[in-house]
Amino acid sequence: MAKLKVEDLKRIKESMKGTVNLRQGDYRVKVTVHMGTCGIAAGARKLMTALLEKLEKSGATDIILTSSGCAGLCNHEPMITVEAKDSAPVKYVKLDPDKVARIFDEHVAGGHPVAEYALSIGSETTY
Protein backbone atom coordinates (compact mmCIF):
# COMPACT_ATOMS: atom_id res chain seq x y z
CA MET A 1 0.00 0.00 0.00
CA ALA A 2 1.54 3.31 -1.14
CA LYS A 3 0.78 6.00 1.43
CA LEU A 4 2.29 9.36 2.36
CA LYS A 5 4.80 9.05 5.15
CA VAL A 6 4.55 11.40 8.11
CA GLU A 7 8.37 11.75 8.10
CA ASP A 8 8.31 13.02 4.50
CA LEU A 9 5.75 15.67 5.38
CA LYS A 10 7.78 16.65 8.43
CA ARG A 11 10.90 16.94 6.29
CA ILE A 12 9.33 19.32 3.76
CA LYS A 13 7.74 21.29 6.60
CA GLU A 14 11.21 21.75 8.08
CA SER A 15 12.57 22.89 4.72
CA MET A 16 9.87 25.58 4.59
CA LYS A 17 11.09 27.23 7.77
CA GLY A 18 12.27 30.77 7.21
CA THR A 19 10.59 31.17 3.83
CA VAL A 20 7.54 33.35 3.44
CA ASN A 21 4.61 31.50 1.98
CA LEU A 22 2.45 33.82 -0.05
CA ARG A 23 0.40 30.96 -1.40
CA GLN A 24 -2.08 31.38 1.44
CA GLY A 25 -4.03 34.05 -0.44
CA ASP A 26 -1.97 36.95 -1.67
CA TYR A 27 -0.35 36.48 -5.06
CA ARG A 28 1.26 38.34 -7.93
CA VAL A 29 0.08 36.14 -10.79
CA LYS A 30 -2.76 33.64 -10.99
CA VAL A 31 -2.75 30.97 -13.69
CA THR A 32 -6.05 29.16 -14.31
CA VAL A 33 -6.25 25.98 -16.37
CA HIS A 34 -9.75 25.45 -17.81
CA MET A 35 -10.89 21.95 -16.82
CA GLY A 36 -14.28 21.36 -18.37
CA THR A 37 -15.01 18.09 -20.18
CA CYS A 38 -13.88 19.88 -23.36
CA GLY A 39 -10.60 21.05 -21.83
CA ILE A 40 -9.82 17.68 -20.25
CA ALA A 41 -10.49 15.83 -23.51
CA ALA A 42 -8.26 18.30 -25.38
CA GLY A 43 -5.30 17.86 -23.00
CA ALA A 44 -5.75 20.36 -20.14
CA ARG A 45 -4.30 17.95 -17.58
CA LYS A 46 -0.97 17.90 -19.47
CA LEU A 47 -0.89 21.70 -19.20
CA MET A 48 -1.46 21.50 -15.45
CA THR A 49 1.38 18.96 -15.08
CA ALA A 50 3.73 21.12 -17.22
CA LEU A 51 2.87 24.29 -15.28
CA LEU A 52 3.30 22.49 -11.97
CA GLU A 53 6.78 21.42 -13.05
CA LYS A 54 7.69 24.98 -14.06
CA LEU A 55 6.30 26.35 -10.81
CA GLU A 56 8.23 23.83 -8.74
CA LYS A 57 11.48 24.58 -10.59
CA SER A 58 11.01 28.35 -10.29
CA GLY A 59 10.54 28.13 -6.52
CA ALA A 60 8.22 31.15 -6.76
CA THR A 61 5.76 31.59 -3.90
CA ASP A 62 3.79 34.49 -5.39
CA ILE A 63 2.25 32.49 -8.25
CA ILE A 64 -1.06 30.66 -7.83
CA LEU A 65 -1.87 27.77 -10.12
CA THR A 66 -5.50 26.72 -10.14
CA SER A 67 -8.28 25.31 -12.34
CA SER A 68 -11.78 26.24 -13.36
CA GLY A 69 -14.53 24.88 -15.54
CA CYS A 70 -15.49 25.35 -19.16
CA ALA A 71 -15.33 28.95 -20.35
CA GLY A 72 -17.68 28.35 -23.27
CA LEU A 73 -14.98 28.39 -25.95
CA CYS A 74 -14.69 24.62 -26.30
CA ASN A 75 -13.25 24.74 -29.82
CA HIS A 76 -10.28 26.72 -28.47
CA GLU A 77 -9.36 24.22 -25.75
CA PRO A 78 -7.05 23.55 -24.05
CA MET A 79 -6.88 27.04 -22.59
CA ILE A 80 -5.37 28.88 -19.66
CA THR A 81 -6.00 32.38 -18.28
CA VAL A 82 -3.12 34.39 -16.86
CA GLU A 83 -4.04 37.18 -14.43
CA ALA A 84 -1.21 39.40 -13.26
CA LYS A 85 -2.06 41.87 -10.49
CA ASP A 86 -2.98 45.27 -11.89
CA SER A 87 -3.21 44.18 -15.51
CA ALA A 88 -5.95 42.71 -17.67
CA PRO A 89 -6.31 38.90 -17.76
CA VAL A 90 -5.04 37.17 -20.91
CA LYS A 91 -6.69 34.02 -22.25
CA TYR A 92 -4.37 31.66 -24.13
CA VAL A 93 -5.89 29.12 -26.51
CA LYS A 94 -5.08 25.83 -28.32
CA LEU A 95 -2.13 25.14 -26.05
CA ASP A 96 0.31 22.30 -25.48
CA PRO A 97 2.97 21.72 -22.77
CA ASP A 98 5.70 23.54 -24.77
CA LYS A 99 3.51 26.58 -25.32
CA VAL A 100 2.58 26.86 -21.63
CA ALA A 101 6.24 26.52 -20.66
CA ARG A 102 6.98 29.56 -22.84
CA ILE A 103 3.99 31.46 -21.42
CA PHE A 104 5.26 30.67 -17.91
CA ASP A 105 8.73 32.05 -18.68
CA GLU A 106 7.69 35.12 -20.64
CA HIS A 107 4.36 36.18 -19.14
CA VAL A 108 3.96 34.61 -15.69
CA ALA A 109 7.59 35.08 -14.63
CA GLY A 110 8.65 37.79 -17.06
CA GLY A 111 5.56 39.98 -17.23
CA HIS A 112 5.31 40.08 -21.02
CA PRO A 113 2.23 38.42 -22.59
CA VAL A 114 2.89 36.01 -25.46
CA ALA A 115 0.74 37.61 -28.15
CA GLU A 116 0.84 34.74 -30.65
CA TYR A 117 -0.91 32.26 -28.32
CA ALA A 118 -3.43 34.74 -26.90
CA LEU A 119 -7.12 34.57 -27.82
CA SER A 120 -7.05 38.18 -28.93
CA ILE A 121 -4.48 40.88 -28.61
CA GLY A 122 -4.51 43.67 -31.14
CA SER A 123 -7.21 41.95 -33.19
CA GLU A 124 -9.68 44.80 -32.80
CA THR A 125 -10.27 46.74 -35.99
CA THR A 126 -11.58 50.26 -36.24
CA TYR A 127 -13.16 50.43 -39.67
Binding site: K3, L4, V6, M16, N21, R23, G69
Partner: protein, 177 residues
Protein backbone atom coordinates in the same frame (compact mmCIF):
# COMPACT_ATOMS: atom_id res chain seq x y z
CA UNK B 1 -11.06 10.85 -23.39
CA UNK B 2 -7.91 8.77 -23.84
CA UNK B 3 -8.01 6.91 -20.55
CA UNK B 4 -10.12 6.35 -17.45
CA UNK B 5 -8.14 8.75 -15.26
CA UNK B 6 -9.29 11.63 -17.50
CA UNK B 7 -12.93 10.53 -17.06
CA UNK B 8 -12.37 10.45 -13.29
CA UNK B 9 -10.95 14.00 -13.38
CA UNK B 10 -13.97 15.13 -15.37
CA UNK B 11 -16.60 13.52 -13.12
CA UNK B 12 -14.83 14.78 -9.99
CA UNK B 13 -15.03 18.30 -11.44
CA UNK B 14 -18.83 17.84 -11.62
CA UNK B 15 -18.88 17.24 -7.88
CA UNK B 16 -16.76 20.33 -7.29
CA UNK B 17 -19.19 22.45 -9.34
CA UNK B 18 -21.97 20.96 -7.22
CA UNK B 19 -20.44 22.59 -4.15
CA UNK B 20 -18.87 19.48 -2.62
CA UNK B 21 -16.33 19.79 0.20
CA UNK B 22 -15.20 16.17 -0.06
CA UNK B 23 -14.69 14.01 -3.15
CA UNK B 24 -14.05 10.31 -2.66
CA UNK B 25 -12.60 8.17 -5.44
CA UNK B 26 -12.30 4.40 -5.11
CA UNK B 27 -10.92 2.06 -7.74
CA UNK B 28 -11.18 -1.66 -7.27
CA UNK B 29 -11.09 -4.82 -9.31
CA UNK B 30 -12.49 -8.28 -9.03
CA UNK B 31 -10.28 -10.73 -10.90
CA UNK B 32 -12.83 -13.57 -10.55
CA UNK B 33 -15.66 -11.51 -12.05
CA UNK B 34 -13.24 -9.76 -14.47
CA UNK B 35 -14.45 -6.30 -13.46
CA UNK B 36 -12.80 -2.96 -12.83
CA UNK B 37 -14.94 -0.58 -10.83
CA UNK B 38 -14.58 3.18 -10.37
CA UNK B 39 -16.64 4.93 -7.73
CA UNK B 40 -16.70 8.73 -7.47
CA UNK B 41 -18.70 10.15 -4.58
CA UNK B 42 -19.26 13.79 -3.67
CA UNK B 43 -21.11 15.56 -0.87
CA UNK B 44 -22.36 18.36 -3.14
CA UNK B 45 -25.96 19.49 -3.48
CA UNK B 46 -27.10 16.41 -5.42
CA UNK B 47 -29.79 16.02 -8.07
CA UNK B 48 -33.54 15.55 -7.91
CA UNK B 49 -35.17 12.53 -9.57
CA UNK B 50 -35.88 14.40 -12.81
CA UNK B 51 -32.31 15.70 -13.21
CA UNK B 52 -30.93 12.27 -12.29
CA UNK B 53 -33.07 10.65 -14.99
CA UNK B 54 -31.66 13.05 -17.59
CA UNK B 55 -28.06 13.15 -16.33
CA UNK B 56 -26.65 10.91 -19.06
CA UNK B 57 -28.42 12.83 -21.83
CA UNK B 58 -25.66 14.83 -23.59
CA UNK B 59 -28.07 17.67 -24.26
CA UNK B 60 -28.60 18.28 -20.57
CA UNK B 61 -26.22 20.37 -18.50
CA UNK B 62 -26.43 22.63 -15.46
CA UNK B 63 -23.90 25.09 -16.77
CA UNK B 64 -24.75 28.21 -18.69
CA UNK B 65 -21.57 28.60 -20.74
CA UNK B 66 -22.67 25.96 -23.22
CA UNK B 67 -25.73 23.82 -23.88
CA UNK B 68 -24.28 20.32 -23.95
CA UNK B 69 -22.88 18.18 -21.13
CA UNK B 70 -20.72 15.31 -22.31
CA UNK B 71 -19.01 14.18 -19.11
CA UNK B 72 -21.41 11.50 -17.86
CA UNK B 73 -22.56 10.33 -21.33
CA UNK B 74 -18.92 9.76 -22.38
CA UNK B 75 -18.17 7.74 -19.25
CA UNK B 76 -21.38 5.73 -19.73
CA UNK B 77 -20.32 4.96 -23.30
CA UNK B 78 -16.80 3.97 -22.21
CA UNK B 79 -18.25 1.54 -19.63
CA UNK B 80 -20.92 0.11 -21.91
CA UNK B 81 -18.42 -0.49 -24.73
CA UNK B 82 -16.80 -3.08 -22.49
CA UNK B 83 -20.06 -4.73 -21.48
CA UNK B 84 -20.16 -2.79 -18.22
CA UNK B 85 -22.49 -0.11 -16.98
CA UNK B 86 -22.82 3.25 -15.25
CA UNK B 87 -24.90 3.70 -12.13
CA UNK B 88 -25.70 7.10 -10.67
CA UNK B 89 -27.40 7.64 -7.35
CA UNK B 90 -28.07 11.06 -5.94
CA UNK B 91 -29.96 12.75 -3.17
CA UNK B 92 -30.73 16.44 -2.94
CA UNK B 93 -28.63 18.08 -0.26
CA UNK B 94 -26.53 14.95 0.29
CA UNK B 95 -24.50 14.40 -2.84
CA UNK B 96 -24.01 12.14 -5.81
CA UNK B 97 -22.35 8.78 -6.33
CA UNK B 98 -21.24 7.61 -9.76
CA UNK B 99 -20.18 3.99 -10.19
CA UNK B 100 -18.71 2.86 -13.51
CA UNK B 101 -18.11 -0.83 -13.99
CA UNK B 102 -15.89 -2.14 -16.79
CA UNK B 103 -15.12 -5.62 -18.03
CA UNK B 104 -11.44 -5.54 -17.19
CA UNK B 105 -10.13 -7.81 -19.94
CA UNK B 106 -12.34 -6.37 -22.69
CA UNK B 107 -10.31 -5.13 -25.66
CA UNK B 108 -12.17 -1.80 -25.64
CA UNK B 109 -11.51 -1.17 -21.95
CA UNK B 110 -9.32 1.90 -21.85
CA UNK B 111 -6.28 1.86 -19.55
CA UNK B 112 -6.56 3.53 -16.16
CA UNK B 113 -3.94 6.10 -17.14
CA UNK B 114 -2.16 8.56 -14.91
CA UNK B 115 -4.18 8.75 -11.69
CA UNK B 116 -1.34 10.69 -10.05
CA UNK B 117 -1.81 13.52 -12.55
CA UNK B 118 -5.58 13.45 -12.04
CA UNK B 119 -5.34 13.62 -8.26
CA UNK B 120 -2.66 16.33 -8.18
CA UNK B 121 -4.61 18.36 -10.75
CA UNK B 122 -7.71 18.15 -8.54
CA UNK B 123 -5.77 19.17 -5.41
CA UNK B 124 -3.92 22.02 -7.18
CA UNK B 125 -7.13 23.41 -8.60
CA UNK B 126 -9.13 23.05 -5.39
CA UNK B 127 -6.81 23.42 -2.40
CA UNK B 128 -9.73 24.18 -0.06
CA UNK B 129 -11.55 20.92 -0.81
CA UNK B 130 -10.73 17.48 0.51
CA UNK B 131 -10.05 14.40 -1.56
CA UNK B 132 -9.83 10.79 -0.54
CA UNK B 133 -8.41 8.36 -3.05
CA UNK B 134 -7.98 4.64 -2.69
CA UNK B 135 -7.03 2.16 -5.37
CA UNK B 136 -7.22 -1.48 -4.57
CA UNK B 137 -5.68 -3.09 -7.62
CA UNK B 138 -3.67 -6.22 -8.13
CA UNK B 139 -0.69 -4.24 -9.52
CA UNK B 140 -0.78 -1.43 -7.02
CA UNK B 141 -2.55 -0.03 -4.00
CA UNK B 142 -2.45 3.68 -3.28
CA UNK B 143 -4.19 5.63 -0.55
CA UNK B 144 -4.30 9.43 -0.28
CA UNK B 145 -6.46 11.49 2.08
CA UNK B 146 -5.97 15.25 2.02
CA UNK B 147 -7.68 15.55 5.44
CA UNK B 148 -4.85 13.73 7.19
CA UNK B 149 -2.16 15.48 5.08
CA UNK B 150 -3.70 18.84 5.99
CA UNK B 151 -3.69 17.92 9.66
CA UNK B 152 -0.04 16.91 9.48
CA UNK B 153 0.97 20.13 7.67
CA UNK B 154 -0.74 22.02 10.50
CA UNK B 155 -0.94 25.33 8.64
CA UNK B 156 2.84 25.55 8.11
CA UNK B 157 2.30 25.14 4.39
CA UNK B 158 -0.74 24.71 2.19
CA UNK B 159 -1.66 21.47 0.50
CA UNK B 160 -1.11 22.95 -2.98
CA UNK B 161 2.55 23.65 -2.20
CA UNK B 162 4.60 22.11 -5.04
CA UNK B 163 6.67 20.11 -2.52
CA UNK B 164 3.52 18.45 -1.10
CA UNK B 165 2.12 17.84 -4.58
CA UNK B 166 5.43 16.21 -5.60
CA UNK B 167 5.19 13.81 -2.63
CA UNK B 168 1.66 12.80 -3.65
CA UNK B 169 2.78 12.33 -7.26
CA UNK B 170 5.64 10.10 -6.15
CA UNK B 171 3.17 7.63 -4.62
CA UNK B 172 1.93 6.89 -8.11
CA UNK B 173 5.20 7.04 -9.99
CA UNK B 174 6.05 3.43 -9.40
CA UNK B 175 3.55 2.65 -12.16
CA UNK B 176 -0.13 2.02 -11.69
CA UNK B 177 -2.23 0.04 -14.19
Amino acid sequence: MQDLSLHILDIAENGIRAGATLIEIDISEDIGKDTLQICIKDNGHGMDAEMLRRATDPFVTTRTTRRVGMGLPLLKQAAEETGGDLLITSELGKGTRVVATFRKSHIDRRPLGDMGATLTTLIMGNPDLDFRYASNLHEKEVEVDTRSIRKELNGVMTINNPAVIALIRDLFNKGED
